[in-house]
Amino acid sequence: MRSISLVLLLAACGPKSVEPMVSVEPAFDRTTQPGPLESSVFALPVAVMGQLSNGLNVTLIEDHSMPMVELSLSFQVGGWSDPEGQYTLASSTYGMLTEGAGDLGAAELSTELRRLASKLSSSGSDDGGSVSLTTLSRNLAPSLDLMALTLLNPTFSEEEWEIKQRSALQSLAAVRSDASRVARRIAAHVRFADEYNGRLSTEEQINSIAVDDMRAWWSANGVAANANLYVSGDTTLDELLPMLEERFGAWEAGEGSVAAEYMLSEISETEIHFVDMPGAAQSVFRFWSPMPNPGTDTYEALRIGNQAFGGMFTARLNMNLREDKGYTYGANSWVNWDHGTARWELGTSVRTDATVASLNEILSELAAVVADERPLTDNEIERGRSNIVQGFPGRFERAGYMLSQLSSIWHYGLPSDWVDGYIARAEAVTPDQAREAFSAHIASQPFSAIIVGDWATVGEELSSLDLPIHHLDVDGNSVERETPQSVPEEAEQAPSVE
């Protein structure tokens, strides 16, 4: 057993205001901004680690403020491992773990958990999977019994799968009818085409999965070498480890699998991927472009630069589209990563008749950064940095946040000082680096613009821009669409689809 402790001193990074600094006078004056009170040291929550005999790593953050314990068993293997034609196999399998195990049917398992006032759930994504338990600390042992049962002896009942499968098929219809969800789905598809999370679930894929496939998948992938256990709450390592060993020690160690490093689709020119949603009151924008991975200096510089451009309410993007023009309820941009790639993203929903105007504003904001017409100022960059640095402690109110960060380090192979070096990395970026990185890697680069909206209304104006438009359906298939003509009465008709 070893223990790691992460301590971070924030005292050195007090308010870094670049607005005219207000002098703090003893006399009270409400016309000027008050200075800060004495700050105090923020220490990151301390994580302690242990290991079971089968190699399963256990990370615990103690928190005795409530008589509760939360556990999350996090898995490496996700939808990326799905075989051709059975996309959603991994996530379906994770979902079925808690639908009956050992001698307990799904209903009995649920009742037993509810008697203990415990919640046990399982789910999977493209990147991984998890089995999570929330329990009163006094009911930890019997709840762990049930959790272990789902891992070591899941039933994969045919009858339960039929019900879940039907529900999954219906859920596809829900995804396809919601413009925001369509935009996220299509953005993933455009990013990775037919690999990784570019592969979209369809009826065919869901129907192809049988319980035997899940059983085989679980016996290959549901092994300790693919998992890490993260725990927070009212327990100690001394209490916890023997309880875990007793229940999970016999779980097969197996061999771990690691996701490949996937490649993003190339973007040679800024292009629109349009999905028609007739009658939509807004157009949903989801833009992205590739950027350097976490762990690089450029990533850090871009993180700060983006904060100034679109990462805060008061950043340029939202101040323009929302607070000046009133085109949207909100617009922002952020940096994101997954297995082997990172990207810059921008998202907003704009009034349908302001679709092209909004796109033009975004294009001009990006161009202004590049052209030295309106480069990101030192002031904006310092505000962006300060927002990140001073907002850091507030993220740690729940122990689960720290655990999710530790899980990401493991899951995505992030630098080991991802959390404890967070402030230092943000502080190390100079305004010039942030400005230049944002201009060179984001603002001057072509991007991919996914727009979901009402083609009959926006098509003509959008087509007049000098940007290529690819039409896709809600499943990412290419379709042909004619440019609508400006006859207002036709605005409510669906455009022709080949």
Binding site: S40, P67, A107, S177, G326, S386, G394
Partner: protein, 447 residues
């Protein structure tokens, strides 16, 4: 979070109601001369503070023709004030604060979570907009935020499938003239009608310190906080004592059925709604238990009957949505492919009849209470949640010191009480069916 202490938790589930409990959020409460209620809750776990201000006004208080105004006004509270005329977010984002405001039918709240050293900044800004707002508000800000709110309406209600069912359903449950008849987001037409004059009147009527309450939670020194609060909020003039909006209890004599064919929705879905007990009123806790007995888990009555045994529903959800003036008891069910919402209603009625004839079993009641008790701990793990809960209790129960009583309500529920609550779910209800408009079918029939 140490201030929330628990003692003597029940050793065995089924004796949970018999155990002595002590569940509280430590705090002190006092009032400024101008009527502002202040609640201080120290918690030194992390060097953070949370400032949470409630104005006791919401969409229930809007005059005819101004639906959505309480919320639009909330947006205007972020447009600066006389001593800080820029965006309200400006100085706060610079110090990494988490800032927002929300409006519902009953109240409008504003909150900042930030480092302990920035408490004066949050108090300065909150007090400045409480006392010195109007001088910087002009027509262009109203025009801009009106557009922003109309976009919020589109994004939250018009784009998501079924998004407009909720406001339409509430308009059926609460008759014309009832404060809950119209939705908090308002109509485009009413939002367009809002004027600068309305803004002045709303502020003058409802935003006085005597109609507000301030919670500060977290890592601060009480004496220091008291002095800052007195300095910043003390000089604000008391406002008029606003007349509280009241409402008659709504009773539907018979069933109202609405059937709607809608474009762009994925499945047949039905909502069944009853006017019900207000928050913390008699019967409120019992209805929460009814919900747990019906859909708390995989083997709960309604879930097991509709989703698993008969397999006529994809999902079913039940909840008691209780507010200040009234609750709404709601059942939402999505039909499985090939089944109609009328089948769902018939099956739901069978289950409800069973529960109102013989009540829940002892086991069902104990399980429900145990799970609700556990949810009390889970829902208190941030300063923001604690601060808002103190204000909820103050506003609704008249005292912030209500956590234990809140839990006690559930511990005191009897099988007979749950049976009576189930029996109250009678014909006096609204049933709202939504069917997708038949277009080109992309999925095969699976009859």
């Amino acid at each position: 979070m140490k201030a929330l202490s628990t003692v003597a938790l029940a050793a065995s589930l089924f004796s949970v109601a018999a155990q002595a409990q002590d569940l509280s959020i430590e705090h002190t409460q006092y009032q400024l001369e101008n009527g502002l209620t202040v609640i201080l809750a120290e918690d030194h776990d992390l060097p953070l503070v949370q400032v949470n201000v409630w104005y006791h006004v919401g969409s229930k208080d809007e005059p005819q023709g101004r639906s959505g105004f309480a919320h639009l006004f909330e947006h205007l509270m972020f447009q600066g004030s006389e001593n800080q005329p820029g965006e309200y977010f400006d100085r706060l984002q610079e110090v990494g604060a988490r800032v927002n405001g929300t409006t519902n039918s009953d109240r409008t709240n504003y909150f900042e979570g930030l480092g302990r050293e920035q408490l004066p900044l949050a108090l300065w800004l909150e007090s400045d907009r409480m006392g010195w707002l109007l001088g910087v508000l002009d027509q262009s800000k109203i025009d801009n935020q009106r557009e922003v709110v109309r976009n919020e309406r589109r994004q939250r209600y018009e784009i998501p499938p079924y998004g407009e069912v909720w406001p339409d359903l509430m308009a059926e449950v609460f008759p014309e003239g009832h404060p809950y008849h119209h939705p908090t987001i308002g109509s485009h037409e009413d939002l367009e009608a809002a004027s600068l004059e309305d803004v002045h009147e709303w502020f003058g009527t409802w935003y006085g310190p005597n109609n507000a309450s301030l919670v500060v939670a977290g890592d601060f020194d009480e004496a220091e906080a008291r002095e800052l609060i007195e300095n910043y909020f003390g000089p604000i003039a008391r406002g008029p004592d606003p007349e509280l909006t009241t409402a008659e209890t709504v009773v539907h004599e018979s069933e109202t059925v609405v059937r709607r064919v809608e474009e762009g929705v994925p499945y047949d879905k039905v909502w069944i709604a009853w006017p019900s007990a207000a928050l913390f009123a008699e019967g409120d806790a019992e209805l929460d238990i009814v919900s747990d007995v019906l859909t708390g888990g995989r083997s709960s009555r309604l879930t097991s009957a509709l989703v698993y045994e008969q397999q006529i529903a994809k999902s079913v959800e039940v909840y008691q949505y209780s507010r200040y003036l009234s609750g709404v008891y709601m059942i939402e069910a999505t039909a499985a492919e090939g089944h109609s919402t009328d089948e769902l209603v018939a099956a739901i009625d069978d289950v409800l009849a069973g529960l109102s004839e013989s009540g829940p079993t002892e086991d069902e009641l104990a399980i429900a209470v145990a799970n609700i008790e556990a949810s009390f701990y889970g829902g208190m793990n941030t300063l923001a949640a604690k601060a808002d809960r103190l204000n909820t209790y103050l506003f609704t129960a008249g005292t912030p010191d209500y956590l234990q009583q809140d839990l006690d309500r559930y511990l005191a529920v009897t099988q007979e009480g749950v049976q009576a609550a189930a029996a109250s779910l009678n014909e006096g209800r609204v049933i709202f069916h939504v069917t997708p408009e038949a277009t080109e079918s992309t999925t095969e029939e699976t009859d």
